[in-house]
Symmetry: C2
Subunit: 112 residues, 2 copies
């Protein structure tokens, strides 16, 4: 995960963004997606982000936050609002946004 | 999402499983992953699952559940326990499991 969420103790918050892309404007989308990760990572209360998109076009991005207030501020950020608009206008076939409170985190890492 | 989580009203629960695969035993892993989706989907309280793994090898699977009790039962299921053991033994370089309470769900679907 980018950020430092590995060492956090719950409760904190997760935003699960699941989406299916359209075929429209891939390069514009990629550029905006990179910008949103960069900008989101600079927001107060940002803890980390992880992302995967499979061959079937379905993508899941999970971002972690210190509070619901931090999530709300980021969702209302001016540049982020433009990205959301463009997403609905052309980039996404569908998306689902789940805002969650993390209750438990369990990690495993292989030894050397 | 497989299942019927699209029409649900929070609160319900999400399990975010983020992982990096090793290079070991891909076919065994794929077979077990398919079996776990099949078996998990049959558990009481299962609401849906979505999954993506990108070219960098990082995968995110999110499953949705009616209660923490349903999540606990599934984690303790005999066959699932074997899968978890094998995962730590050979399939995963690392993983993180976040158990979360869904507070808000927002959906978007493109019109025809």
């Amino acid at each position: 995960m980018e950020g430092s969420a590995d060492t956090l103790k719950p409760p904190y918050y997760a935003v699960i963004f699941t989406s299916l892309r359209t075929d429209v404007d891939s390069s514009g989308y990629e550029k905006m997606a990179d910008r949103m990760v960069e900008l989101g990572s600079m927001q107060p209360g940002f803890l980390g982000v992880e992302s995967a998109r499979g061959a079937d076009g379905i993508g899941i991005t999970v971002s972690y936050w210190a509070s619901l207030e931090a999530i709300r501020s980021w969702r209302e950020h001016f540049e982020h609002r433009i990205a959301q608009e463009l997403g609905r206008e052309k980039w996404y076939q569908w998306y689902r946004l789940h805002i969650c409170r993390v209750e438990t985190m369990i990690g495993f890492e292989r030894g050397e």
